[in-house]
């Protein structure tokens, strides 16, 4: 019976072996390659990169493989790797107007400069299980899929080139079109504004400004943001959102290199950007105008970007002078609970032994129960005594029963 606290070392090693085995599953089936995960589970990869806060498709795919598909665990793996990486510096702000779009939709204007581009989306699929995928997978087998990996990558690259040729023009954002009319708030940073902080280098503290909030939300759990964003639509801080624009595509990342004294493109990344347009009633100083909620995610992550935009807008309640009525507008509540690496760790730490605390509680509950029993015993004796003395007067009976009932209830509550 001492096993629970002994032999931890061997148990841990055995658990590692079992984990490897269960991750691999049936060895008669071909093993998944990281390349297959990167190419065929691209949406999982996008989520892991976004919340893991590192843009690296291969590492994200590796993390997914190692975590046996548990995305929150994969995000944790990537974060724990990220924390050891040196910080070279900060890139220039991304110019998402210069995005090579693969998909771009607006729910506010039927047509707009640059047009709408449906692209690859599950939106208009009919959610019927496609049994042909099952058949294909069986026919192909693992090796065939591996061999064709290079070809699909090449095809994807070719497609991208074709797209970039097809859309050379810059695509102004819907928001900047509205801006010309002065209908929407300006989102330009003031010339002398302070540099945004870096949430991964400085502790989160409150009150948090918008730049910090957006960093937190970008790393935040998709499920949490989805639920909270949904809540804002159902009246918990409603502010009439319209999907001004959702775009997905690749943008170039530029960095100023001190040695060269100029800005150099260091690569391209895929991002999904969402700008929600919300009403704002205006105030004494500001005429009624549209306001924005902003969402940004790595890879193709529309649900995340949209939910983030809804939450971002809800969290601006205080700065816009709106009534704070819901947890979705409470900056500290939202930012403290959005991170799934933190949340998952703390929820699951309850698996760790708490023998000592529990023992302390046991001792207390036993003592309180003993005291309680003693008290009940005393009052019962007292009640019996009063019953005996007042037995001659039947009208007293209901009154004498009352305290006894009260004690019954107390006992149940305890």
């Amino acid at each position: 019976m001492y096993v629970a606290v002994k032999g931890g070392e061997r148990a841990i090693e055995a658990s590692w072996r079992l984990l490897d085995k269960s991750r691999r599953g049936d060895t008669r089936l071909a093993e998944l390659s990281v390349g297959q995960i990167r190419e065929q589970l691209r949406l999982s990869v996008a989520r892991v990169m976004t919340e893991g806060s590192v843009y690296d498709e291969d590492l994200a795919a590796l993390a997914i493989k190692q975590a046996a598909g548990d995305l929150v665990e994969a995000i944790f793996l990537l974060r724990a790797y990220r924390t050891t990486l040196p910080r070279f510096g900060y890139t220039q702000p991304l110019d998402s107007e210069a995005m090579v779009v693969e998909r771009r939709i607006s729910a506010t204007f039927k047509d707009l400069p640059g047009g709408q581009l449906l692209g690859a989306t599950y939106d208009y699929t009919q959610r019927l299980l496609d049994f042909s995928l099952m058949a294909d997978a069986q026919a192909n087998g693992g090796d065939a899929a591996d061999a064709s990996h290079g070809a699909t990558a090449a095809a994807a690259a070719a497609q991208r080139v074709a797209l970039s040729h097809a859309k050379p023009e810059s695509m102004p954002r819907v928001v900047s079109l509205l801006n010309k009319e002065g209908l929407i708030e300006q989102e330009k940073s003031a010339p002398g504004a302070a540099e945004p902080g870096d949430l991964t280098r400085e502790p989160l503290s409150f009150p948090a400004n918008r730049a910090t909030r957006l960093q937190n939300l970008a790393r935040g759990d998709e499920g949490f943001l989805l639920a909270m964003g949904y809540a804002t639509q159902r009246g918990y801080a409603n502010s009439h959102p319209f999907a001004g624009e959702i775009r997905f595509g690749s943008v170039s990342v530029e960095m100023e290199l001190d040695e060269l004294g100029e800005t150099v493109e260091i690569g391209e990344i895929d991002i999904t950007e969402c700008q929600m347009i919300n009403q704002f009633a205006g105030s004494r100083e500001v005429p009624p105008t549209f306001t924005q909620g902003y969402g940004l995610a790595f890879g193709h992550s529309e649900r995340k970007a949209m939910a983030m935009a809804l939450v971002d807008r809800a969290l601006r309640a205080e700065e816009l002078g709106e009534t704070l009525a819901s947890p979705t507008q409470d900056i500290e509540f939202m930012l403290s609970h959005s991170d799934n690496v933190e949340a998952s760790g703390f929820v699951q730490h309850l698996k760790l032994p708490h023998y000592v605390d529990f023992q302390a509680e046991l001792e207390l509950v036993r003592r309180l129960r003993a005291q309680h029993a003693a008290q009940v015993g005393d009052t019962e004796q007292a009640t019996e005594a009063t019953q005996a003395t007042s037995a001659a007067e039947p009208a007293q009976t209901p009154q004498t029963r009352q305290p006894a009932n009260g004690h019954d209830q107390q006992e149940q509550a305890a």
């Binding site: 019976m1 040196p86 400085e202 500290e332 730490h349």
Partner: protein, 314 residues
């Protein structure tokens, strides 16, 4: 930025993990943590924010304590890690292995041999010396969080030393239960100023914090806070004149070493619910049994002792 400490360069640490810096964290991060530690020591009991990193162990599983230990550990240190008082619980084993892998330092199970003791939920029974540092893993560093969850608010309460809330809570306990019903994570006032969480140690351990010779450091990774109790600092457990602070007492003695002074863990040893009480501090219990048998060599197997104890009771 990530350059290894020059003093450590070239000194091979045998089993240290390749590709990682000594004690996992890069030197810049360690310096950041040390700055927070210095501030924490300078203002006893005050929670200092620090830029907690993601660690390869989950938040809530000791990342704060691990970061503090990583920031202060050197090649000549000897590390002991306990969880619930025991060196053998899986999480203690895991953290000890982590440091053995990333630093190659000596580890020990003996409280008296350790220069750094990292702990979760206990203070060792063996008194510590001024050559030792006790590092606590802290889940919720804010002693007021159950009464006021917003840190923006609790910051103000600490600044004003406005601790009425907690006194009311303890008073309500007395009204409801006839006594203070807090048994662990029992709030203390450090150096007559800051209300401080002792981490979820049982209140049994609270008196050990008072005027302790060792430096006590508290790391909360997920909540990004560090606080400290310097050596020989006054630590007062909250109470009232007519309801003085009390610690837990057992009717039983430890079934293995017979101690009546140590904190006991309760175990259920058969289907009938028979209980056995054993020291929570495994090293203390082991030491006492070693002294009793006078056999310095072999008696490191509590299993044997358990069987003996069971045999005696049967």
């Amino acid at each position: 930025m990530n350059a290894p400490d020059p003093q450590l360069d070239g000194a091979p640490f045998d089993r240290a993990a390749e590709g990682y810096n000594f004690a996992y964290l890069d030197e810049q991060t360690k310096r950041m943590i040390r700055r927070s530690l210095l501030k924490a020591v300078a203002v006893p009991g005050y929670q200092v924010p620090f830029a907690s990193r993601e660690m390869p162990l989950p938040f809530g599983w000791g990342t704060g304590g691990i970061q503090v230990t990583a920031a202060i550990i050197g090649r000549d240190d000897t590390l002991k890690v306990i969880d619930q008082g025991s060196d053998e619980t899986t999480n203690a084993v895991n953290i000890r292995r982590f440091f053995a892998r990333t630093t190659g330092v000596k580890t020990t199970r003996r409280t008296s041999e350790a220069t750094i003791v990292q702990t979760r939920h206990r203070i060792p029974e063996t008194p510590l010396t001024d050559k030792q540092i006790l590092v606590y893993q802290v889940p919720m560093p804010e002693p007021l969080f159950r009464l006021e969850p917003r840190t923006a608010e609790t910051k103000k309460l600490h600044a004003l030393a406005d601790y009425g809330l907690i006194s009311v809570k303890l008073y309500e306990d007395i009204v409801h239960h006839g006594g203070i019903a807090t048994t662990y994570d029992y709030p203390v006032i450090v150096n007559e100023r800051y209300l401080t969480s002792p981490s979820p140690i049982p209140k049994f351990d609270n008196p050990k914090m008072h005027m302790n010779a060792a430096l006590q450091l508290f790391g909360a990774g997920r909540e990004r806070r560090i606080h400290a109790i310097p050596p020989y600092t006054r630590v007062r457990s909250l109470d009232f004149d007519d309801h003085p602070f009390e610690i837990q007492r057992w009717e039983h003695a430890c079934a293995l070493c017979g101690s009546r002074e140590s904190f006991l863990d309760e175990m259920i040893v058969d289907d009938e619910g028979t209980r056995m009480f054993v020291c929570s501090d495994s090293d203390y219990c082991h030491d006492r049994r070693e002294q009793q048998t006078g056999d310095a060599g072999e008696s490191g197997e509590p299993d044997v002792a358990v069987k003996r104890a069971e045999g005696e009771s049967a």
